[in-house]
Symmetry: C2
Subunit: 235 residues, 2 copies
Amino acid sequence: MHVVVPFAATDPKTRLESVLSPTERAAFARAMLADVLCSIVEAGREPTVVATAAIDPAELDLPTHVLESVSVAVDDRPLTDAVNARLPSKTDSGDNDGDTDDAVAVVMADLALATTDALADLFAAGGEVAITPGRGGGTNALVVRHPGFRVDYHGASYLDHRKIAEEVGASLETIDSFRLATDIDEPDDLVEVLVHGDERTRALATLRDFGFELERRDGRVGVARRGADDSTRER
Amino acid sequence: MHVVVPFAATDPKTRLESVLSPTERAAFARAMLADVLCSIVEAGREPTVVATAAIDPAELDLPTHVLESVSVAVDDRPLTDAVNARLPSKTDSGDNDGDTDDAVAVVMADLALATTDALADLFAAGGEVAITPGRGGGTNALVVRHPGFRVDYHGASYLDHRKIAEEVGASLETIDSFRLATDIDEPDDLVEVLVHGDERTRALATLRDFGFELERRDGRVGVARRGADDSTRER
């Protein structure tokens, strides 16, 4: 199984711009990428980062055994095209019966809560297409074993991917995982990292370095950021 | 195992008031409750609705075999108190070694995506306390087997429940389920019902009756409501 991790190397995580500077967004995005790569390697796979621009994995502060398992490919095409270029094709297996050993998994780089166990369950899923939905109709991770399946990340991709699987006659499995359903896109999502992030992860450490902490108010939970002047700015 | 389903019978789902009238909120809350009760019964359990005011389960349009398995208790105390009054106590089992057959599950009534499989996994979970976190640090469902454990739903209840379990020496399991992590509180949550709701569920049917539909815009997905004048109101 090939595991592909698409990564926007330039100006990532723009929907966090209200709470993080461009430099901070870049650092946080790389922290999440590093965590995802570690979890993939611990699950026994060798991930390829498909980045929109060159990145040096040595700068991700990965353990040696993880760094040795990671490769990088630069592909500046839109996400959908870059992923489709790496999915199983009929020529890979030499037949078109829908069965191929060249499974490809696609795991988004911003799944800050992804654990080795959750990813191992995904990689072991049956179905010629296995999808982990994200909140809001997105597709956070999938495994493709059918040579006719192609992705389309625009819009409600989870529904589109179900439809595409049906159209090409691929059996479908949906993976029910809160950890894999939680991609970190918006300020409210930072709560999930602070609540559920493993203490060893770079994403949690990075947010804490930036001064983020949980704040309990009105019976609900949000994030607050402690600034250099030691005052706390709510959001 | 006892299964408790707390239900706010009066003025439910106030955080949906920007998109639903009081009558609609009451109907939608009851639709979700009915779906949750069906899934619990299909998972082999007999739920007790702990309602803040009297409700008639016959008005929930339940299949006969589900209706026969459901009981209602009225308890107008705050959620935390009403649940704690029903958790295993030391006197239930006659010992205090942390092991009791009187397990109690608590399942929130607004888990519109809860399936029989997801609930069965929860009910079968190990651990003297098993918790399904919700988004934003909440606790959407739990199973309590330890007589010393008590709930506290105020604030970041997931973190509080972990801490309480540790304090009383209860082993803890966290259940990783997107379906059980998705409680329907706010307008944006309606997207999840429209994307992932089982076609047979009352919650999905109710939203569609109200005119809600998915709307794809700007590469993301929201909900729109088609009004009586056949115009579509975005939100």
